[in-house]
Symmetry: C2
Subunit: 163 residues, 2 copies
Amino acid sequence: MSRSHNQPCPVAASLNQLGDMWTLLIVREALNGATRFGDFQRNTGIAKTMLSDRLDQMVRDGLLERHDIGQRGVRHEYRLTRKGRALVPVMAAISQWGNAWLFGEGQEPIALVHRETGEPIAPLRPSDAQGQSFEWRDVRMVPGPGAAPALKTRFASIPPNQE
Amino acid sequence: MSRSHNQPCPVAASLNQLGDMWTLLIVREALNGATRFGDFQRNTGIAKTMLSDRLDQMVRDGLLERHDIGQRGVRHEYRLTRKGRALVPVMAAISQWGNAWLFGEGQEPIALVHRETGEPIAPLRPSDAQGQSFEWRDVRMVPGPGAAPALKTRFASIPPNQE
């Protein structure tokens, strides 16, 4: 995977670790309980050499931890780190988008549900620190405390996104 | 971009349209008001031929609409469709993950805030249809109404994700 985004932006920086299509499918599998090379390979259909590269990269990036389990024929288990597990909201947002726009109501191949009640989760909504939710159109991106001066200048010149 | 995921899964299907790292950066720019080839090129640093390919693909995928504005030297504007704009929650989830895990508190290059109050949005949380929120660890993936039989079988064999 080329790592070509060096912009000070959390989207760009995240895509350096997630941008490869396979990475998020491996996360999907790990969230669903896969731990072994063969599980990942079977469930994603990824070629073995590429899977091997991706797992190595994900270990280097701190998304997966490799544990040597020393069993004959199965040497390693891969487990999501906290950083990897923190991708659940990303997976959920992508799943909801895909279900809504690529499959449609009643055709969803995968549903996200509450573990105990089995009820589907609602479309994600933004909320403030007090838990008050509002609409996505009320959200905008602004420079954060770590923004480089060039980014602040650029944002100053962009009109607020109208809708 | 290769389109190699033919699994009946909203993550896999979404990654076919989003998996290329550049696609989400183009969405980021469009959300921030970019409409013209030069805007996208300048703000992402993407090579011109690749940008041209990506914009064409995103128009074919229904993420962007191309409008001929007939001005000398600037022939087209690109605007997000409803489907493209529906990626805001995906961008928000990725931004929050990147800010938290790749930059850290106080170093965030970009913040997501309420348009009017300027207050940062809280980390996304799942909620049910009544707006009651719960924890991400209480969410699991299950086969949806459009799941193929093989997927149902596979899920039946996977133990619930423990944590």
